[in-house]
Symmetry: C2
Subunit: 340 residues, 2 copies
């Protein structure tokens, strides 16, 4: 009998329980998952309860291919939700994982994905505390889709949100742009580069810890995923009703990404990242914020790329190397499908 | 231009933002969703914080067809997660929703699904506080898949869990078995019955409120979804290392469901429900628990169907009308795929 996923693996019976035990629980094992209940009970008594605030997020992952240079759908599903929770200034602690498996998926592919999730969760300091598995017929999925939802606890005193930007804030980016999008695309389309290009998929909660310790008045954080930096900055400009102005040359881009974008007609500002954040920081904390980021392995390439303005509210402007200014629109969206 | 989902609706740009605004936010609108942040911040300060415990759960919904007698994937996605959270004795409060849409899905189908979610959330007393949308190419999905994750707050003093059953506990079921599974199957296979059969999809948190007020020492709660009552009782028997013995005749089954099961060779004990719970209650509270359930609209058909035994630990036995006893195994799983 082929060792593949069958419809019965999603049907709530013995085969599903065996799959949960042999594949999911064996990799992701922790005291919460071992409750094996309809929902998992978490005690908050060890945490400081004054003014307790939760951060909640959800993200579904449908990346194609499942494995790409520098990552896979499993680690991506952990990093993506860890990062979403971290961007509110919260410490991500617990994740749930929902799997939609396609009939015929090879069991060892699933095992590799789950092992990768497990390692990514450990490296991110979070636990997968609840899960669910469904199976759809061959041709109604694409191997594995994963949803992760995340719960974090907000730091006391930190006030971060998309509408908190103020004119004069400095715009910092944690590193080079576009690695994830171009790495996934290169694998999908069989492109090769002189130097191997890896996805930047990584958990940003540690970088946020370091950044907020140095710059506790940080106003906005956003990871520049789908739609790239252009989408993240446009969204923050609209939410805060301010203008954002960046130096196009100041935004770091690796030569391989720049070359691929040149060849394919992409703007690196609109290509997805999975391990880069943009921070809006008040001017008096900008210098220490940048140094703090650069001291962290995931922020070594951090750069100061622009500032928040009162003028042209709701818009992103880029100053070009020849001294001009262009409006960088919210991308329409069709650039790179199935990137996360 | 056709009013359908296109790949660009999932690509993080303007079209995705328009979709979120026009379809999701307009139906599901609340102060949390309006934060439009990477994760949603929730204040717990209004809640009693002593010994605070959270309940977390996740469930993906891939039911086919999307609309069935008595419900649809939208309301089901709310009820399923509300029920999972309620089964730990917690009050479900906040849900996240992750959508995987198939390219070509008609926009009005999506709108109907989201409206149904919105109504179900209102009726269940929960809010959808965070969301995500992905789009996959035509042929890699099935219209809409939805993941919901749920967060609830545990009641103080209630101790409910799958391993807490004790010999002598009474086994109560909240109503007739198998309505959901047979309703979905009938729609899918074009079966018709003399009387219309509707899914029992419903939020059980209100019923749990009433039950726990009357029987605060309730030991186990489980909703009998995939795998039906047989799976739920087998799982509880294993988790608590006890035997469970039920009177086969005492388990209520509607005539139409009984007839369909007879015709198709199904055991009603293994058919899915989406609005029925099983409760293990200590003998001294069994009577008041049953009365309390029967006083609630979703528990009118509640019945006492059996008890927990020290013998045959880990097994479910059914006493038949002619006086015999049979072992009811955990179903293998292939009975009814894509039922939720």
């Amino acid at each position: 009998m082929e060792n593949v996923i069958r419809m019965a693996h999603g049907a709530g019976g013995r085969m599903m329980n065996d799959l949960i035990r042999d594949v999911f629980a064996s990799s992701l094992d922790n005291a919460y998952l071992r409750q094996m209940a309809d929902s998992t009970v978490i005690e908050l008594t060890d945490l400081p309860l004054a003014d307790l605030q939760l951060a909640l997020s959800t993200d579904s992952f449908t990346v194609s291919p499942l494995f790409f240079p520098g990552g896979d759908i499993g680690s991506l599903a952990i990093h993506g939700t860890v990062n979403d929770v971290a961007m509110s200034g919260a410490r991500p602690l617990w994740l749930t994982a929902g799997f939609i498996l396609e009939e015929g998926l090879e069991m060892d592919v699933l095992e590799r994905v789950v092992c990768s999730m497990s390692e990514a969760a450990r490296n991110s300091g979070v636990q997968v505390v609840a899960g669910d598995t469904k199976v759809v017929e061959r041709g109604h999925g694409d191997g594995v889709y994963i949803n992760t939802a995340g719960v974090g606890i907000l730091r006391e005193g930190v006030e971060i949100g998309p509408s908190r930007a103020r004119p004069g804030d400095r715009v910092l980016i944690s590193g080079a742009l576009g690695d994830h999008g171009i790495a996934v695309l290169s694998k999908r389309e069989g492109l090769t580069f002189e130097t191997e290009l890896l996805s930047d998929s990584a958990p940003l909660n540690g970088l946020v810890d370091v950044l907020l310790a140095a710059a506790p008045h940080t106003r906005c954080l956003r990871d520049a995923t789908r739609g790239g930096l252009a989408a993240a900055l446009n969204e923050l400009a609209v939410a805060s009703d301010v203008g954002v102005e960046i130096e196009e040359e100041a935004a770091p881009v690796r030569p391989a990404v720049a070359a691929a974008c040149e060849m394919l007609g992409f703007d690196p500002l609109t290509v997805a990242n999975e391990g880069k954040l943009v921070a809006f920081v008040p001017p008096e904390e900008a210098e220490v914020a940048l140094e703090a980021m650069q001291s962290h392995p995931l922020g070594r390439g951090a750069a100061h790329i622009g500032l928040v303005t009162e003028e042209h509210a709701g818009m992103l402007l880029a100053r070009t190397s020849i001294g001009g200014r262009r409006v960088v629109d919210m991308p329409l969206g069709e650039l790179l499908p199935r990137i996360c």
